[in-house]
C-alpha cells in the first residue's frame, strides 16, 4: 500500500467537504437534531420510568452511540455514492489504486466525516441535557471502536453491493442500518426480544455493546468479556466484509460494470 495514493483519495473528499458549506452543515445538522429529539425523549423517560429514573440520559447515551454507528456507516456509503453520482467511478479504477488502498482511504475519510457530524452534537448535549459520554469511562474508547468497525463492515457490504449490482443498490445503502436496529437492542435490553430473536441478536456485536452501555450506566460495572466479545465478532464480520468487497470487485470486472457506471 502506498500512503500517497490513500491520501489522494482522502483529499478528493476533503476538497468536496471544505468547498461546500451546505454539505458541511448537512453533516452536522442531522446528528444534532437527532440528539435533541432523543434528549427530550430521554428526559421524559427519566421522569416517568422506574427503570431509567436512576440514570439520567441512558437513552440519550445510546442514541449518541447509535448515531455514531449510523453516521460512520452512511459516511462510508456516501463516499462511494459520490463517485457514482459524479461519474468519476471509472477514473478511480483506471488509476493505479489497489483495492486495499481504496478501503483504507474510505475508512479513514468516513471517520473524519463522522466526527465532523457527531462531535458538535456530543458537545451540545452536555450543557443542555447534562449528559456526557465520558460517564462511560475508559471503556468508551473500546465501545466506539467496536461501533466504528461495525459501521465500516456495513459500509463495505453495501459498497460491495453497489459494485456488484450498480446504482440500483443505492436504496439498500440507506436502509441497511434500519434493518439491523431492532435486533441491536439499542434502547431496550435483550430480554425484551422473543427467545428465537434473541438467538439471532446474539450474533450481532451491537447487542453486547449496548447491553454494556446500560450495565455501566445503571450498575456502574464494566464487563470486559462483553466488550471483547463485541470486538471479536466485529473483527470476524469486518474480515468477511473485506472478502465480500474483493469478491464483488472481481465479479464487477467479470461483468464489466466498472466501466461507465453512473446515474
Amino acid at each position: 500500500m502506498k500512503f500517497y495514493r490513500i491520501y489522494a483519495l482522502f483529499l478528493r473528499h476533503f476538497f468536496l467537504i471544505k468547498s461546500s458549506l451546505p454539505r458541511l452543515l448537512d453533516l452536522i445538522y442531522w446528528p444534532t437534531i437527532q440528539i435533541i429529539l432523543w434528549g427530550f425523549i430521554s428526559k421524559f423517560f427519566t421522569m416517568h420510568s422506574e427503570f431509567y429514573n436512576h440514570t439520567a440520559g441512558i437513552i440519550l447515551s445510546a442514541a449518541i452511540l447509535y448515531d455514531f454507528l449510523f453516521r460512520s456507516s452512511i459516511s462510508f456509503n456516501m463516499l462511494f455514492l459520490e463517485e457514482i453520482w459524479s461519474r468519476n467511478f471509472t477514473n478511480l479504477f483506471i488509476a493505479p489504486l489497489k483495492v486495499s488502498e481504496i478501503i483504507t482511504s474510505l475508512t479513514t475519510t468516513a471517520l473524519l466525516r463522522t466526527l465532523i457530524g457527531i462531535v458538535p452534537a456530543i458537545i451540545f448535549v452536555s450543557p443542555f441535557f447534562g449528559v456526557s459520554l465520558l460517564n462511560l469511562g475508559p471503556s468508551l474508547f473500546l465501545l466506539l471502536l467496536s461501533l466504528y468497525i461495525f459501521g465500516m463492515t456495513l459500509g463495505l457490504l453495501v459498497v460491495a453491493g453497489l459494485l456488484r449490482y450498480g446504482p440500483a443498490f443505492e436504496n439498500v445503502a440507506w436502509s441497511s442500518l434500519f434493518l439491523l436496529a431492532p435486533l441491536g437492542c439499542i434502547y431496550y435490553p435483550l430480554s425484551i426480544l422473543p427467545d428465537w430473536l434473541q438467538i439471532i441478536a446474539k450474533g450481532l456485536p451491537l447487542v453486547y455493546i449496548f447491553e454494556e452501555v446500560r450495565s455501566i450506566l445503571l450498575d456502574n460495572s464494566v464487563n470486559y468479556y462483553n466488550i471483547m466479545k463485541a470486538l471479536m465478532l466485529n473483527l470476524f464480520y469486518f474480515t468477511l466484509s473485506v472478502y465480500t468487497f474483493y469478491s464483488a470487485f472481481s465479479e464487477a470486472r467479470k461483468k464489466g460494470t466498472l466501466i461507465n457506471v453512473g446515474e
Binding site: K2, L9, F15, F93
Partner: protein, 242 residues
Amino acid sequence: MKEIAIEINNLEKKFKNTSAVKNLNFKINKGSIIGLLGPNGCGKSTTIGMILGLIKPTSGEVIINGKNIENNRTDLLQKMNFISPYIELPKKLTIEENLNVYGRMYGVKNLKNKILELMEQLNLNEFKKRKTGELSSGQKNRVSLAKALINDPEILLLDEPTASLDPDVGDYVRNIIETFSSNGRKTILIASHNMNEVERLCDEVMMMKKGQIIDKGKSEDLIKRHGRENLEEVFLKIVREK
C-alpha cells in the same frame, strides 16, 4: 526489432451467452498511434476495458510492456491513462483540485509544476479555480485531457476523444494529441467514429466488427484495398457487408 507496447493474444469476452470480443489478436508497437474503428457495439469499449484491466477476459491475455495486466494491474496502470466522454471528473472540485488529486494518485513528481504546465498547454489557467461542473463541454474535455496527461503516460487510450465537441475544439484536442505523441515514445490507441480524425492522427487502423478485427493497415492501404475514396467509405462498406 520494434518493442511491443500492447500485445493481445486470443482475447475473448463473453457476457452471459453473448460474445462481445472473439479471438482477438494484435500487437501495437511502442510509439505508434493506432485507430480502432467499428460500429456501435462491435467490442471497442470492451477491448479498451480489458486493456485497462477494468474487464476480466473470459480467455486470452493482455500483455502491456511485456507484463500481463491481470497480475500487474497497479504497476502497469501507473504508466497508462484513459479519456472517454462517458466518464467525468468530480464536478464540485475545481480544475486545480482535480488535477492535484489525480496527480497525487499517480505519484507525479513536481506536481505543482506539472499542473501549471498542463494548464498552460491546454489553456486552462483562467479557469483553474472554477468548479469542473461549471465548465462548458469543450472546457471539460480539456480538463479530462489534462487529467489523462498528468502522469505523462507511456500508453494513452482514447475513447471518442472529440465526441460532442465543435470542430474548433475538436481540432484543438487533436493538436494536443499530436504534440503529446511526438514528445517521446508514446503509444496511443484511439477508438473513434470520426474518420478524418483517425486518418489524420493514426499510423494504422484496425477495423472491428462483431468482436473481431476484420481488417487492418495504413489508412491509404485500406482505402486502396477496398477500392474506395476515403476511410469513411471503407468503414461503411465493412459495416454493411454481410
